[in-house]
């Protein structure tokens, strides 16, 4: 069973749709027992970093998430990926701190948000196509990077460490390519 962490932030209708389409049966929950029963945890998220952290704290989810991320596949998507890191400029807030790195505003001459289809760069042949990004902040890290894209400068697109996976783009909105990546992430991740 896949548990999508329900903390009131973000548009999960389409993530749920994509998982159903792939043949999974996700449960949307913030119930600690249900989260513990799940085989896989997905942390979604759209919106403000600071709000997201506050919601997770209000629901008292930090201890259980901290425990589960060691035990089972744990996938953060979009803002959910950014939350896995130590700190963000957005709201100047601490993140979950599961991965080394920080989150910074996208700067440069290109439009912000970074919005649209951009090509993945990775040594893995399965991670080469165009996927749909929509974000104004990006992860700064040199570690655990599986795929990047280029938007004026390199942007981290997928990270993986042990059972933790972070996906910056929206696999549920990236056509067939995105569905394949989502499926791969759920089936144990990316083989390096």
């Amino acid at each position: 069973m896949i548990a999508i962490v329900d903390y009131g932030l973000g548009n999960i209708a389409n993530l749920t749709n994509a998982l159903h389409y792939l043949g999974y049966d996700p449960v949307l929950t913030h119930n600690v027992t249900k989260l513990k029963e799940a085989d896989t945890i997905i942390l979604p998220g759209v919106g403000h970093f600071n709000d997201a952290m506050n919601r997770l704290k209000e629901l008292d989810l930090l201890p259980v998430l901290n425990e589960l991320k060691k035990e089972k596949p744990f996938i953060g998507i979009c803002l959910g990926m950014q939350l896995l890191f130590e700190r963000s400029e957005e709201g100047d807030a601490d993140g979950l701190g599961y991965l080394p790195g920080t989150v910074k505003k996208i700067t440069g001459s290109l439009p912000v948000p970074h919005l649209g289809w951009n090509k993945l760069d990775s040594s893995l042949p399965s991670l080469q196509g165009d996927v749909y990004f929509i974000h104004s902040y990006k992860v700064h890290t040199g570690e655990n990077v599986v795929a990047t894209t280029t938007y004026g400068e390199p942007v981290v697109a997928i990270v993986q460490k042990d059972k933790l996976i972070g996906i910056q783009f929206h696999p549920e909105k990236s056509g067939d390519q995105g569905l394949l990546i989502l499926d791969q992430a759920l089936k144990g991740g990316f083989e390096l």
Binding site: N11, N14, F133, I134, S136, T150, S174, G175
Partner: protein
């Protein structure tokens, strides 16, 4: 490199896709879910549904259309038309929309942009503007109610304001060029891109593949939108993308 997006727009009235020529004279052309799936297969990068229903029942049918489409279509979907409040936006997002486009409601109450971009995130708030050149005043003005009502708001001032209030994207329709199939309104679009840094979707005037290539070569917009030329199969999305690619514009191929 980020790709330029090609976006078919489906005007939906009471659950059926219709098309408008210069915002007048509508005719039915098909089932929105089927059309959406077809466009996905044909290589559309995103879809825009504009709900032009005038009744509550029509709006309810729209939610049904969004739900059905989102179950089978995994590319971004923007919903616009008749959204007036945070509650309306919440309903379409929950039904499966990724972004909403706001036009009249934002002009009537600009604070709605702040409220909703904070609540749902800037990335899902796209401000749609119907702009028309006023010869007497030598400037572009915003229109509301499907292009029927002129406002006193200058388009170039409005884009600056909506960006400051938290909009994540603009959908700019040139009413002077819409339906003419003579190409996009480069002058208006360039002026807007000089004013804001958020992504801009250009709408109004596409008649052939060349018009899209010209648009991307001459302006910094992020996407080109069209309705009737795609619905009538005057030109295919593949043709548009092939020509753009040939001219050096980065395109996504499926």
């Amino acid at each position: 490199m980020i790709k330029k997006r090609i976006i078919p727009c489906l005007d939906v009235r009471d659950g059926v896709v219709v098309k408008g020529i210069q915002f007048k004279g509508l005719r039915e052309i098909g089932d929105p879910v089927e059309l959406a799936k077809r466009y996905n297969t044909l290589g559309a990068d995103e879809l825009v549904f504009l709900d032009i229903s005038a009744t509550h029942t029509g709006n309810a049918l729209m939610l049904d259309v969004i739900q059905k489409t989102a179950k089978e279509l995994f590319i971004p979907m923007t919903i616009g038309g008749g959204l007036k409040s945070s509650e309306d936006i919440s309903a379409v997002l929950n039904a499966g929309a990724d972004k909403v486009s706001l036009n009249s409601a934002a002009l009537n109450d600009p604070s709605l942009i702040n409220e909703t971009s904070e609540k749902f995130g800037s990335q899902c708030i796209c401000i749609a503007i119907d702009a028309k050149w006023e010869e007497a005043e030598q400037d572009w003005y915003c229109y509301t109610h499907g292009g029927k009502k002129r406002t006193d708001v200058k388009a170039l001032e409005w884009v600056k304001e909506v960006e400051a209030r938290g909009a994540g994207e603009l959908l700019i329709t040139s009413m002077d060029y819409d339906g003419m199939q003579q190409g996009f309104d480069h002058e208006l679009l360039k002026k807007i891109k000089e004013t804001v840094s958020i992504p801009v979707i250009a709408s109004g005037g596409a008649g052939n593949a060349r018009h899209f290539a010209d648009l991307f070569l001459d302006t910094d917009v992020s996407a080109g939108l069209a309705a009737s030329i795609f619905h009538d199969e005057d030109v295919s999305i593949h043709e548009v993308k092939d020509l753009c690619q040939l001219k050096g514009v980065p395109m996504r191929h499926v």
